[in-house]
Symmetry: C3
Subunit: 305 residues, 3 copies
Amino acid sequence: MRSLSSFDSPEKGSTNSKNANTELLTEDSLRTRIAETVREVRDQTPLAGSITNTVTQNLVANAQLAFGGSAAMVYMPDEARGIVQAGRAFYINAGTILPIYEQSVVAGMDEAHSQHKPWVLDPVAVGLGELRSSLLRQAKQYPPTIIRCNASEAIALAGLWELNAGNAEGHARGVDSCDSVDSAYASAISLARCTGEVVAVSGEVDLVTDGKTVIYCTGGSPLMEKITGSGCALGGVTAVCAAVSDPLSAALTASLAFDVAGKNAAEKPEVHGPGSFQVAFLDELYTLSPEEISSADFRVEQVSE
Amino acid sequence: MRSLSSFDSPEKGSTNSKNANTELLTEDSLRTRIAETVREVRDQTPLAGSITNTVTQNLVANAQLAFGGSAAMVYMPDEARGIVQAGRAFYINAGTILPIYEQSVVAGMDEAHSQHKPWVLDPVAVGLGELRSSLLRQAKQYPPTIIRCNASEAIALAGLWELNAGNAEGHARGVDSCDSVDSAYASAISLARCTGEVVAVSGEVDLVTDGKTVIYCTGGSPLMEKITGSGCALGGVTAVCAAVSDPLSAALTASLAFDVAGKNAAEKPEVHGPGSFQVAFLDELYTLSPEEISSADFRVEQVSE
Amino acid sequence: MRSLSSFDSPEKGSTNSKNANTELLTEDSLRTRIAETVREVRDQTPLAGSITNTVTQNLVANAQLAFGGSAAMVYMPDEARGIVQAGRAFYINAGTILPIYEQSVVAGMDEAHSQHKPWVLDPVAVGLGELRSSLLRQAKQYPPTIIRCNASEAIALAGLWELNAGNAEGHARGVDSCDSVDSAYASAISLARCTGEVVAVSGEVDLVTDGKTVIYCTGGSPLMEKITGSGCALGGVTAVCAAVSDPLSAALTASLAFDVAGKNAAEKPEVHGPGSFQVAFLDELYTLSPEEISSADFRVEQVSE
């Protein structure tokens, strides 16, 4: 099990700290680290550039800014390399595929990997189309620091990567998940063990795992399914957190922030539907304190072999 | 005149039900069908994929989700076919043309047509540019189930299709309409008779026709012209409705929903301009009851030959 | 110094009125002209088409509409020429570069230049990538009527154009400015003298100059940095103003409108963060009176040689 006390500081390249340390990953140490992650994002305004989908990139950028980070979206291959170099983390969201992605997504993954910068993959709608499948298959060679997806995408990506737990047929219907987070448990563990990194599956219950420990968190609101891009925005905020923290704490911090912000926003008296919910949600991402996020409910379990 | 009592259930492929039934299309039967359409969308969350414009696709998707449907936007030709197959209706909005649209728009139209799935065309800015004209000319071969547009676009599309009532010169100034819905009456009827399907022209007064019956509805708010993509979003919601209903009821349901939601939103005390209007409008699309939509004002007329 | 009383009316092609008039550009004459610009935009709803970035184009269009103008975004080279012809001003925002921009940005600049239509350049992230640099280098041949940018971009663009005051290395980190407006003073003057037109640098203090006079304005809110595209939207509204006014008054009107709208929005009791701020900001752009904008604080200085 990974020791939290021994992860590298961001300056030393936190994402490559695959230590085989045996110290226990306790709930308390995680809570401390979550609060630190939020504080460091707000102090440092880290840039996490993206190749992301055109439908939701405005919300992704606004969520990254509201949470305290900085955003920049690119399409060209040389700009993908340039923005990886300029930033401290990178985010690839496969939501909408354009022809130029054949070069730029590979350039971005390669640059992040060779520069040892954390990068987050959101394999949206994995299974739809040749180029999308080809790019997501290649992602295995540049293992993403954090895979953030819904349950159907976790199962389908594990299948595409020919991991035992997956199902190459995919379960997704367009961009929606048709599977529960529970059903993606084995796929998530397999993906995390394959990359040696972290997988975060969001749904009614969120699951975050490094292949050894599984953390469950709840919260949010059914209204999050009624605004396009809430998952994409979570990927973007995860990348911002990964710029300053170890992958497990980064994925957990972002998931909890979205759970708390979603729950709080849905309870506001001025929220009557998805329009006012999105407004209140962005406000919450901006105003939530490190303590509000780090004290949210989650549960830590060890993966039984 | 089409009989409403005999339209096919969605499972049987409602869009090809061009029955020559002579039963009267009454206001009462329409109101019943409108309420059913709203209920079925909310019960079934039908996916209506799109090739749509980059400026407004976020609002299109959010409107589709708020109303109860599901959304997915694509660019690649094979993904256009894939999302038609995965969904129950399809939407093509010509607002922004990219080079890849030369293949993907044709692929999408062809797939929808050969799979007998309803598809909605919004011929935004018809007349601007070679590729846009070429694609919109080709649309005639894969007749759209519903053409949704403003008055200038109806006149220009009828012209591009060389129908008598149209004007190939076009009247549009960019994406705006410079013509009243009345002036597009003949073009709308011609387009509907050419496709054998439905045309919906929106403006201060909306006109929905199947070439035999014309339905007029009013409502909305001048603020709808002050948010980009209210027309595009109407096209997207029309596609969601077409996934569960006959084309005429689908087009009418979506138009009325926008009229009622726009009118209600503009009257909210918290609405002071286009920013707060858009928020309240999405909330209204989400909260409006089937009865509020089906009891809205409209007027049915038979087309005199 | 340019005389304000002698600028051409929009019908006569205001942007080419580089008169060598010696009358004084006074604060009073500017205030009169600002109020007129706002009134003319609202009376005439001028179309300012754009090639703009995919992340923020929805906000750009909504800001243009809220302020009283009309918007249309294009990608194809022939559509760039077509929308320049259909409109009264044009806007190029380099935020996200796509392969087709190699042709379409040049087509748009060339068409605006040869048609003597005012055009606004926002050289977002100048320095990132080959194609972006090539296009922004070429912009010098079709001198933009107004360059609107942040301080880092002004310094980097002056460098790219090999003006003495600039720095080709660039200071930008992604899309953010790392320089104060003061530090861009010399670059802004150089750019304005090179084009013979106007440069507007936005930041905590905004600087608008025609190379002879410098106008400083303040206002806005720190929340403007927390919504993506506030600068892009300012470029779009500047283009709408340039459609009806001389370049200096246009740039100043748009900057003041954003300063006042930002300040007012941030003070609203319902604004709690960037989500509600963006909503209130768009409402303010829509409701601000010509007098509220023209009476905002600014300071006029003559450039010492």
